[in-house]
Amino acid sequence: MSYAEIERQWTTRLRKRFVHLLPPDKLLPDTQPSYVASWIYVFGVTTMAALFVVIVSGCLLALRGPQWWHSSSVGHFMNSLHLWSVEIFFFAMVVHLWGKFFMAAWRGGRALTWMTGVVTFLTSIAAAFTGYLSQSNFDSQWISTQAKDGINATGAGAYWNVLNMGQMLMWHIVLLPIAAVALTALHVLLVRIKGVVPPFAEKTSVQTVDTTEMAS
């Protein structure tokens, strides 16, 4: 195979494009700008750490099933770990959102980074709500009967039936986690490509000096 033929391959072109967009030192940097040394910058990674615990505890709950998480002490612990990691996830995500809003983090061509964050937030809310419906207890039954009126009022009730336990469970453990993790990965890659948004420039007043007077 000639060099020209290799250069024409779609795998070669895709690899070169990706490496150009995100070289290894940008994908996994060893240093960050000095302005990142602030507590306000830790909440994005706190959110991701909480998401990791949410996914792992959710997988363990899926392994043993509802009887285990309702009736055994280890199951109760894992159920609580799943709930509280979600609480920390949303807590950190909201503080992250406030920080980025007041930094106007969509500046410098970062609009897509901001928007993927917004969509991830909305997806996570849907994932959390379907989690309430998947508890398989009286609480989830009560919540589903309260939610159905709201969902039916939007017209989405024909496709999104909150009284359908099987459908809500599948959304909660398959579709929405895949969407949330994929969107989070995309969000982080966009942050790596564009870099962390710098602070606003300080307003400085420049005083002009009359050099002719100084010379005389």
């Binding site: 000095s34 602030s38 306000i40 009887q67 309702h70």
Partner: protein
């Protein structure tokens, strides 16, 4: 939710759980059209406090980084 044939689990932390009863009706705050549970209000206050502290508290290692030539 308990199933037939299972026992309610008792742990050393059960006594501490009694200090903060969670199996009661929620408390709500009303102000004009705003209607919010005390639990949600406390979480929002904690988020605001965390946000302000994150802005004002010094970050470890920042001074050392500045001193470097």
């Amino acid at each position: 939710m308990l199933f037939r044939g299972t026992k309610e689990t008792m742990t050393p932390l059960t006594q501490f759980a009694a200090l903060l009863p969670l199996n009661t009706l929620g408390h709500y705050l009303h102000w004009h059209f705003i209607d919010i549970s005390v639990a949600n209000f406390v979480v929002i206050v904690l988020m605001v406090v965390t946000f302000v502290l994150a802005l004002v508290l010094p970050f470890p290692g920042r001074r050392r980084r500045r001193e470097q030539p």
